[in-house]
Amino acid sequence: MLEAVIFYVFALAAVVLGIIVVTRRNPIASAIALVGTFFFLAGMYAMLDAHFVAVIQLLVYAGAIMVLFIFVMMLLNLREMGEGMVADIAGATTRGILGLSAVGLVGIGIYVGLQGVAGRKLGVAAEGTGTIEAVGRALFGGSYLLPFEIASALLTVAMIGAVVIAKREI
């Protein structure tokens, strides 16, 4: 009962903030609403026992990626990104067509996805599927080891790059 209440609070908050993300003209307000959406999504992951995904959602999306978004926005000239910006890109008709086709694409995606699982019996995931141990075993013990190592090599290269760039300026 209480869990259902919490779920609806989180779901409502995520949806409302998601609407704010697309309706605000001000990119900063959108970005901050997006952080809120990520936060409530993380809460829903946690309620689904996917604790690791929930924390990574907070750490990576709400934390690191949003701060990067904010930096990029601040590096752009915000005054030029004011009220008239959206209207300057395209006319009302073009915008309408683009928006509707985006909605249509997402709708097709959801439809195809639902067709894929239609009629199949959806079981409850086994206890502990989303724990850090289970994710670790899947990453290091299963067939995901090579992609994981390649991704970590890529991140290490990026980190070394950051060190080199920082060092040159001393």
Binding site: A29, F39, V55, L59, G63, F71, V163, K167, E169
Partner: protein, 329 residues
């Protein structure tokens, strides 16, 4: 309803223990502010607060009462919703990290199996409200402070996570309760194994100073350059919430450091108990205050260079060393 029934119901248990922990920690924070002022007085050779109560002990209460009576002003040019939300969110983000701290004697609000990650991700999230405050203030000093806070937070998050990976690797668990249990009998990770644990503790301590915006890493509010940084436009209770959030961050980081590196509630031959955990947390908090009056503030570029050229490579080496230790023993 008996006490056992309360403790059996997870919701009530969370509410009771959570409320208790929060109350005690906020009390500690109020007196950390008193201690800081008194200690500052000592280092400046002046008495510090000494009027309200014995040795000024009632000063924090008087301060809060005064702040509550202040006019809740809203500057005209601010972005109202963000401006009002920022201090509340900043404090809330910091408070949430308290949930996973094991205080000893089974006092823990929620010993999550991702405890360490949860605490660090939620406290690093406090950077966003700080940046929000800087932006919503519509003030160039506040915005500069906010940008510095954001840059500092994402940079120092990396060594912070790397340093805390060392006890995680050594204990084989992300649960703070397990990490404390693995240090039972005085085998604190800061002391044993010699090397990685101690340096990881130092790294964690310094990175936490940066995350909590404390001197020598307090460039987001550097009063000599930025007036008051993000807090420039804030006054009354809203300012107090930022102040409280910053101190709370220090106390929370001290508590996590005590649990992850200094054995938590364990005191070797002297036994085990909540009082030891509190003592360690308070000593670490006091040391942060000592650092404040002993070192100068770094420049923004020095801060970034220190992070990326010393802390991050050092943290990687420490993680590898601890993994090697676990592999060999």
């Amino acid at each position: 309803m008996s006490a056992a029934m309360v403790l059996d119901n997870p919701w009530l248990r969370g509410l009771v223990i959570g409320g208790g922990v929060l109350g005690v920690v906020l009390g500690i924070v109020a007196y950390a502010i008193w201690f800081e002022r008194k200690f500052t007085g000592l280092m400046h050779q002046r008495p510090g607060p000494n009027v309200v109560g014995w040795a000024g002990l009632l000063q924090p209460i008087a301060d809060v009462l005064k702040l509550f009576q202040k006019d809740d002003r809203l500057p005209a040019a601010v972005d109202r919703p963000l401006f009002v939300l920022a201090p509340v969110l900043m404090l809330a983000a910091t408070m949430m990290a308290l949930a996973v701290v094991p205080w000893g004697w089974g006092v823990v609000v929620a010993d999550l199996h991702i405890g360490v990650l949860f605490a660090l991700s939620i406290t690093s999230l406090a950077a966003i409200p700080i940046w929000m405050a800087g932006w919503a203030s519509n003030n160039k000093y506040a915005l500069l402070g906010g940008m510095r806070a954001a840059a500092q937070a994402i940079s120092y998050e990396v060594p912070l996570l790397l340093s805390v990976t060392v006890p995680v690797v050594l204990a084989g668990s992300f649960r703070l309760g397990d990490i404390v249990a693995a240090q039972a009998g005085g085998r604190w990770f800061a002391l044993w194994p010699p090397g990685p644990g101690f340096f990881a503790f130092v790294l964690f301590y310094l990175s936490s100073l940066a995350e909590a915006n404390r001197i020598p890493f307090d460039i987001p509010e550097a009063e000599s350059e930025l007036v008051g940084g993000i807090t420039t436009e804030y006054g009354g209770m809203k300012f107090a919430l930022f102040y409280l959030g910053e101190y709370l961050h220090t106390v929370v980081a001290s508590a996590i450091a005590s649990a992850a590196f200094l054995g938590g509630s364990d005191m070797g031959p002297l036994g085990d108990g909540l009082h030891w955990m509190l003592l360690k947390t308070l000593l670490l908090t006091a040391s942060v205050i000592f650092v404040r009056w002993s070192w100068l503030r770094l420049r923004a570029d020095q801060l970034m260079a220190l992070c990326w050229t010393v802390f991050v490579p050092g943290g990687l080496v420490l993680v590898m060393a601890s993994a090697l230790w676990v592999h060999l023993t």
